[in-house]
């Protein structure tokens, strides 16, 4: 009887004693973490963990940007574009990094309005070989060759194929790194909102039963 009681008691307690965490306002912490990786943890006073998350997520993100930089501009794997010829689904993951993704939106808006991208084409979207900026500053269907279009635009306006050809595999790697960094930031957001994952004896037992 005593043995049974003792086992039922232990099933309710965590395996390792975890410290009490004051999550303060979890929604605000999650929002801060979404805006800047680790910011929610700083707000909660979990400084060490915030630094680890900030370094890891931003490190992966910057690594991806550096990989996708070259003669065609900086961080070309990270951009936002939604036109009939280019649906950049990767940005849905990349954008989860929060504020660091903002330059991509600014550059996208500039290129869309026919303005030259800033900062060596940093996060600027590629131009379409089928559209050209007319005299009124609007995009219109042109069907020009990629080379002639690049010549008549800014130094850092390149088509997707030109960027892909110049960066080769680094373009894919840059896309992979920035997308994974963005998606990992979602884990950081959940951690800021809900605290750490605690495995209880109950869960362990259920998992062991399932395996058997």
């Amino acid at each position: 009887m005593d043995d049974n009681n003792s086992t039922t008691n232990t099933t309710q307690t965590p395996v390792a004693q975890q410290p009490e965490i004051d999550l303060k306002n979890p929604f605000l912490a999650a929002l801060l973490s979404f805006v800047l990786p680790g910011a929610g943890h700083f707000y909660q006073g979990r400084i060490g963990k915030g630094i680890v998350f900030c370094v890891c997520v931003l490190g992966l993100f910057i690594y991806g940007l550096v990989l996708s930089s070259g003669d065609v501009g900086w961080g070309r794997a990270m951009y936002w574009k939604w036109t009939p010829d280019d649906h950049r689904f990767y940005f849905l993951g990349q954008g989860c990094i929060g504020a660091p993704a903002l330059p991509a939106l600014i550059q996208s808006n500039r290129v869309k309005n026919g303005e030259a991208p800033l900062l060596h084409g940093f996060m600027a979207p590629p131009i379409s070989s089928r559209y050209v900026v007319n005299n009124h500053g609007k995009l219109e269907y042109a069907n020009l060759s990629a080379d002639s279009l690049a010549e008549q635009n800014s130094k850092y306006n390149f088509t997707f194929h030109q960027i892909r050809k110049s960066l080769n595999k680094d373009f894919e790697l840059g896309t992979l790194f920035t997308t994974i960094a963005g998606l990992l930031n979602l884990l950081v957001v959940f951690d800021a909102a809900g605290g750490i994952v605690i495995e209880t004896e109950d869960k362990k037992k259920k998992a062991a039963d399932k395996r058997q």
């Binding site: 680890v52 490190g59 994974i180 884990l187």
Partner: protein
């Protein structure tokens, strides 16, 4: 050589492992220890896979 591109797996694996470890521990020392442990497991898995492929296909 193309094989050099596989070295990019190192920072990727470390980053993923540390953040995963961060969701399970609160203490920074534990996060670092667990992060390295998880990375090592992934690297060992990749190494064994590579050896199996090499043994089977000789590439």
């Amino acid at each position: 050589m193309d094989i050099v591109y596989y070295l990019h797996l190192i920072p990727l694996t470390l980053g993923i492992s540390f953040i995963y470890a961060g969701t399970r521990c609160e203490d920074v020392k534990s996060i670092i220890r667990q992060g390295f442990r998880i990375s090592l497991s992934i690297f060992m898995f990749l190494l064994v896979s590579l050896l199996i492929f090499w043994a089977c296909f000789g590439c």
